[in-house]
Amino acid sequence: MPETLIFWGLSGMAILASALVIGQRNPMYSVLMLIASFGALAGLYIQLDAPFVAVAQIIIYAGAIMVLFLFVVMLLNAPQEDAAEWDRTHPLRRTGITRFGGLLALLLVVELAWALLQVNNVDVPVGAQGDPEALGSVRELGRILFTDYVFAFEATSILILVAMVGAVLLARREGDG
């Protein structure tokens, strides 16, 4: 019973915080709400017997990436979002790029719905079947990551590296050597 209560509490927190991320006018509060949402997610991972994933979530997302977000928001010292231009135009009359964003969002919703319907068909990783302890353990996670899923792992690494090099290249000013 307390587990169910904690689950609903954490899920409620995650959903509420995520909604507030888009609801806030002040970008600083948006960032903070996103951190709160990540914290709630980490709690859910612990409930799923995956303490390592929970801690990684906090270290990487809440600890490192969001500090960077905060850094950028502070550096730009972005004022409150200017509502005048945005809210008065009809959604259908907005510029093309916004519609494209909407399309992507719709695609994501469809994708997520499809993924959720598949949940019951998912194979539990080899070697961890019927053993939640092993599923959550760092040793098993590392083994699976570097054997069964090594291609996905390496492909992700290269993708991130490419994005990083690209960002550096774009940010470099002309004539900076």
Binding site: I35, V55, A64, V67, L70, F71, M74
Partner: protein, 343 residues
């Protein structure tokens, strides 16, 4: 069962009590050691040799008026110091500080000294301490003052830069110990080589220890890496606009973070509560632990009053071009060694 629960509660209470006192004691130690190093007495008037000075400091801070700048963000300005000190206390929860003990036969089954034994303890401490920076960053931003903002910006940049070296140094120890649980890391360091050299990881990981300590000083924003406050450039950095209790929470968080950093260093590199066999047998290993933490804290203060602050660009250069590559090489060499000797 009842008794066991009470004992565990008492251990948690004791940990909390010691942490609160650590911040007060460190204020005194800092001022006394600084005085000694500058050839003067330091605080001398309150109590014998000035030992009650922290009490006077706390009372003074409590009596002060709480100010909040007009343009400050009301909520975040209040939240920031609370966040700092909460993260500081919470991080210590995963740090074990003594061997399992039955309290001289009081309990049937041994209970562990420390708030919680978590099987990914090293990472939990790391995760929570890395959340502490939000307190500083938010304080800097919410004050609506240029100097505070600069302090907050520096805190976040410094944190990102040095966290990497810190984590990489940790990873090397984890490879040696083969466990993410701090208690298992400590127990891997029991015993001796050749009968007299204690099997502490500091002897296997001298470079890692050095990197850990340097990154640790940077993470806790202590001199020579105290850029977020840098009083010559930024008045007082992120806490410029703070006063009274809200201000007091920042140094308290800093001192508790120092204690946590030292306690984790003791667990990872200096054998935790091992090292003095007869005390360990008596179940008083935690005294050894306390002494080691004290020694590291002394070094912390020593460094602060010996070295001048770096320049900001030097901090970044040093972090990315020297410390991080050194940490990576250390990790690779350690991994190769572990593979070679285990095979």
């Amino acid at each position: 069962m009842e008794l066991r629960f009470l004992v565990q509660l008492a251990i948690i209470g004791f940990t909390f009590f010691m942490l609160i006192n650590a911040s007060a004691l460190l204020v005194l130690a800092e001022r006394k050691i600084m005085g000694f190093m500058q050839q003067r007495y330091g605080p001398y008037l309150v109590g014998p040799h000035g030992v009650l000075q922290p009490l006077a400091d706390i009372l003074k801070l409590l009596m002060k008026e709480e100010l909040r700048p007009k343009g400050a963000d009301k909520w975040l300005f209040t939240l920031a110091p609370i966040l700092s000190v909460t993260a500081a206390f919470a991080a210590f929860a995963a740090v074990p500080w003594g061997a399992e003990t039955t309290f001289f036969g009081l309990l049937d089954e041994p209970v562990s000294l420390g708030v919680a034994d978590i099987n990914v303890g090293v990472l939990v401490v790391f995760a929570i301490t890395s959340m502490g920076v939000y307190g500083i960053v938010l304080a800097g931003w919410s004050s609506n003052s240029k100097y505070s903002l600069m302090g907050g910006l520096r805190a976040s940049a410094q944190m990102i830069s040095y966290e990497l070296s810190y984590a990489t140094a940790l990873a090397a120890v984890i490879l040696l110990a083969g466990s993410l649980s701090l208690r298992e890391v400590v127990d891997g360091q029991a015993g001796t080589w050749l009968g007299f050299i204690p099997q502490w990881y500091v002897f296997l990981q001298p470079v890692g220890f050095l990197i850990y300590m340097i990154a640790g000083v940077a993470e806790t924003n202590r001199a020579p890496f105290d850029f977020p406050e840098a009083e010559q450039e930024l008045v007082a950095g992120y806490n410029t606009e703070y006063s009274s209790v809200r201000f007091a929470l920042f140094p308290q968080a800093e001192y508790i973070n120092m204690t946590t950093m030292s306690a984790v260093a003791t667990d990872l590199y200096l054998g935790g509560w091992h090292g003095v066999p007869f005390l360990t047998e008596l179940g008083l290993g935690w005294l050894v632990f306390l002494a080691k933490v004290g020694a590291i804290l002394f070094a912390y203060i020593w460094v602060r009053w010996t070295l001048p602050r770096y320049r900001y660009d030097q901090l970044m250069q040093f972090g990315w071009k020297w410390l991080f590559p050194a940490a990576v090489i250390n990790l690779v060499v350690t991994a190769a060694m572990v593979l070679y000797f285990n095979a």
